[in-house]
Amino acid sequence: MSRITAAPPAATDFEALHLRIVGEGPDWIREFRTNARSRFVLEGLPHHRMEAWRNTNIAPIVAGLFEPACSTPEISGGGEGVWTGRLSQAPEKILALVRNNLGSLADAEGHPFTALNGSLLNEITLVVLPEGCAAGEPVTIGHTAGPGNSLNVPRTLILAGERAIGTIIETFEGTETEGGYFTSAVTEIFCGKDTDVKYCRVQREAPGSFHIGRVQARVEQGGRLHTAGIALGAALDREDAGVILAGEGASCEMDGLFLTDESRHVDNRTRIVHAVPNCRSRQVYKGILSDRSTAVFVGRVIVRPGAQHTDADQSNPNLLLSDDTTVYTRPQLEIYADDVRCTHGATVGQLDADALFYLRSRGIDPDEAGRLLVKGFAGEILDRIEVPSLRTQLESEVAGKLPVTSGSEG
Amino acid sequence: MLSVKNLKASIDGTEILKGINLDVKAGEVHAIMGPNGSGKSTLAQVIAGRDTYEVTEGSVTYMGKDLLELPPEERAREGIFLAFQYPVEIPGVNNTYFLKAALNAARKHQGLEELDAMDFLMLVREKMKIIQLDEELLHRPVNAGFSGGEKKRNEIFQMAVLDPKLAVLDETDSGLDIDALRTVAEGVNSLRGKDKAIVVVTHYQRLLEHIVPDYVHVLADGRVVRSGGRELALELEKEGYSWVEQQTAGPAETRG
């Protein structure tokens, strides 16, 4: 790879990267990449003057010099009846499903990084829960990013047939390297009629890395989806999570927890569309900020015309633990039906002084009291993760990341 | 005063009232009893003009007028009062303000002068004594945050202020303890008069110990299956509604 010295400072030519793998894979994949690439060219790289990117500066990504890397997901669990694996391992029956569904939820319009992911697509992680299947154990998908300066494009497709029940855990990690790496991930989740799907996403990328994630789900009649997004790592993390409640009686619960420290930046966007009547959605995204970190939450609930008896709640409580943090929160409601119950709320504050005092008056030292309260704050989200091993692990990870000085100034 | 003839009404195509006959004259107190689902509350709502019920047959005449032709507010202004089984909460709308608007709407309709704030307040004070309503409730939004008992008292208080000719009390006793029941009943009794009539809709006999009816009608499956004096209520109390249900299993009676 040679650099042309006359050109402006080195940066990745994202538009040209797909040429490296242009001939790889079957026809439909190549066509998929070409279409995504056209979309990416059309969208261009976002900038902070766009409403959707106002509070997130992607300049470090734009300035970085990245090399596409192959995705090598580790997939395990599931149990009897569940088909999991990589695209390269998929039998024809599964391939047909993939061809029909890939990209149909995670529309790249307005999402340049979804387009980028598509333009460089090389591997797909597949989870298929057939009709009526009850997965005996959680499916675990582990993505480990390539070396420094790698550009990773993990792609996951989860298909749950009618009445299927299952839990999927998807994790993102990497090793700390000079220069950092960049992951642009896309996950699509199809929940058929009367399904019960739980999806937990843990982002623990290496410090100094960049993570841009997209999760898009669709829930059919009577289906239930619970998502939990836990963001613990990366220098810059942007997560777009969207759910379409497409059939009556569908419901989704979205939990989020983000811990930021040092000068990290986490930007969470959610978009729930109530397309039909009698659906329910609930979102709780909690932020714990310390040091010089910043966090953004933009959550939108859209109630389409005719989606009567919608029941939607959304909340974003934030805890600021240091003087130099900044939080931008925008809980948003967009409602076009009159017989609905929608609430949203956001709060920003520090630890409750009364509660701190109460604990101290019982002999608990201030730091410990602060930690207890923060743990309790995070606990509301972690307690809802139904996989005990994961919950315990996350609890200790979260505890380990909590700053120690929280209570001493109370 | 009120004459209901062969009244049939349905909701979403399901027939609830299957030919009700009822005659209420001025000065009378009628009790309508019956098991759950017999159509008691439907009858009360249809008299008040609730449009979720479709009247498919029959007639209701009130003071010589075809009641079914009138919108609910006109019926109210003509002197029909329904004490709701579940009084509706109206957040933001002050109870006193609401009542004044209601009273003046009726007075205007009757060609009387509207009451000004002072006269209205005096009337309210006077009526409050009858029903022992906590003055604080006057300043709260209509029924919002009221307890079950407060809501029921508020209904009777409104009745006292609006002074209707025909009052229909829909399960006014439900959710009241014995003391509250007595207060409410006393309130109702004080509003009785020879030019007025009261229809008490109730599941239990206990309210009738305090508001003594002249006639008792038993409703089952949308029809009046028995009518009689107050002793009928006592009989019901003893025998229970299963006795009525057995009767309805036989050939339908159509007389009221």
């Binding site: 600021l320 925008r330 009159d338 709060t347 920003v348 | 507010e73 709701f84 509706v88 109206i90 009726a106």
Partner: protein, 489 residues
């Protein structure tokens, strides 16, 4: 007849237009009654000359204009309208001579008169509102106005038209003009700064409590303040003033675009209360012909313990775009925003507030009530920004929406930006409708369905109305009822 503002604006084209000589060879003619349509430096010089303004005003206008040329019309608001051709607008026309408008109330749209009657507006005022007579023609002859002015003068209060203030109090204007809403603020504020023709000016000296509600209604020479109005209110230390803008009666205007600017400055311990009832023509059932109301209103709590309170009732205009805000600079200063916005038929409103907390222990309260009916779209958009130094800042926001019918929309877009950990920021929102059971209950008590809706809606807005001066509040309630007519099935 009302000119439809023509479509299409393209800033490049505008720039070209502005940079070359005016196509029609327009020469500044100070004797002319009005400028030809379009906007150029020449037109701005013409306006300034017409108004006999001092040099600093011309400079202010020109700077604003040059800046405006670099701006794009904002598109982030939740409103849709055909593009405006800014070169088709006439930016200056002399006050209407008597006889241009309708000659008597007989010539006025009967629908409008019907509304006046419902609001109980006296005949004389109806004539003013319908444009049959000029305001000054009435008020000059009414002794109450003169007495009123004399009383204020005794207290040292300045209350006059903006033009008059530029001549009589140039120092105050020079000091405060653009100090809260600089011409660089936004597209419409820049446009206003370049071309505004008139407005109001208020100055309350130290320690003076203005003894009466000041109102545009009473302002002498209020005629033809035009579509680009500018208001500046300054309350010096320990002063108090309550200012009322607009009136409940529907106002017609042949100018479709309105872009006003209001600036408030509150010094130490002072309070400014600013109440608005906006009822510009909303257009017909299909939204044709309504006013576009793009307003920039902002107050600065410059001194410690100062307070600025905005109350607005927005029922008119086909499009409303306004965010009255407070810059809470002084320690312990307080900002308040109470709003009722109603959209019916095809109206669109994108309104809310901006509370910027800079000083320590600053507090802000936001209460917003949006009512959507017909095909109306109602958006709350509000920013609460807590800067780093604003220790102990507190904000509470409550945004409630009520929807009447299933073809309207209610949207809530709060923006909370917090950079201080000792701050407490809370936002709550809810959505409700009027239940059929509620309407039936009212009907059973003898109240008509229409009155029931009006009663419930007014109850919904109670917290805002209680902030309005008494008479205004009563009128505002009636206004809501009238604005909602026909929206109940």
């Amino acid at each position: 007849m009302s000119d439809q503002i023509k479509l299409e604006r393209n800033s490049e084209a505008a720039e070209q237009l502005a940079n070359r000589e005016y196509k029609y060879g327009f020469v500044t003619d100070i004797e002319a009654d009005s400028a030809p349509p379009g906007l150029s430096e020449e037109i701005i010089r013409f306006i300034s000359a017409k108004k006999e303004e001092p040099e600093f005003m011309l400079e202010f206008r020109l700077k604003a204009f040059r800046h405006w040329l670099t701006l794009e019309e904002p598109d982030w608001a939740f409103v849709n309208y055909p593009a405006i051709d800014y070169q088709q607008i006439v930016y200056y026309s002399a006050p209407k001579a008597q006889g241009d408008g309708p000659q008597s109330l007989d010539e006025v749209d009967p629908k409008l008169l019907e509304t006046y009657a419902k609001l109980g507006i006296p005949l004389k005022e109806q004539e003013i509102l319908a444009g049959v007579v000029a305001v000054d023609a009435v008020f000059d002859s009414v002794s109450v106005a003169t007495t009123f002015k004399g009383k204020l003068e005794e207290l040292g209060i300045v209350f006059c038209s903006f033009s008059e203030a530029v001549k009589e109090h140039p120092d105050l204007i020079r000091k405060y003009l653009g100090s809260v809403v600089p011409y660089t603020d936004n597209f419409f504020a820049a446009l206003n700064a370049a071309v505004f023709t008139d407005g109001s000016f208020v100055y309350i000296p130290k320690g003076v409590r203005c003894p009466m509600e000041l109102s545009t209604y009473f302002r002498i020479n209020a005629a033809n303040t035009g579509q680009f109005e500018r208001t500046l209110i300054v309350a010096d230390d320990d002063a108090y003033v309550s200012y009322l803008e607009g009136c409940t009666a529907p106002q017609r205007d042949e100018n479709q675009l309105h872009a006003a600017v209001v600036e408030l400055i509150a010094a130490e311990n002072s309070t400014i209360k600013y109440s608005t009832v906006q009822n510009w023509y909303p257009g017909d059932e299909n939204g044709v012909g309504g006013i576009y109301n793009f307003v920039t209103k902002r107050g600065k709590c410059a001194g410690a313990n100062s307070k600025i309170s905005w109350t607005q009732v927005e029922t008119g205009s086909s499009i409303t775009w306004k965010y009255p805000g407070c810059i809470l600079q002084g320690d312990n200063s307080v900002g308040e925003f109470y709003s009722v916005a109603l959209t019916n038929n095809c109206q669109q409103a994108d309104t809310g507030t901006k509370m910027v907390h800079i000083g320590k222990n600053t507090r802000s309260t936001i209460i917003s009530k949006g009512i959507s009916a017909g095909r109306g779209q109602n958006t709350y958009r509000g920013l609460v920004k807590i800067l780093k130094g604003a220790d102990g800042a507190r904000n509470y926001s409550q945004c409630d929406s009520m929807l009447l019918g299933d073809r309207c929309g209610a949207h809530t877009f709060p923006y909370l930006d917090v950079q201080n950990r000792t701050a407490t920021v809370e936002h709550e929102a809810s959505t409700s409708k009027i239940g059929e059971d509620q309407i039936f209950y009212c009907q059973q008590r003898g109240i008509s369905a229409e009155d029931a809706v009006s009663m419930i809606v007014n109850g919904f807005c109670k917290e805002v109305f209680s902030e309005l001066p008494m008479e205004f509040a009563v009128e505002a309630q009636k206004l809501l009822g009238i604005s909602l007519e026909g929206s109940v099935g």
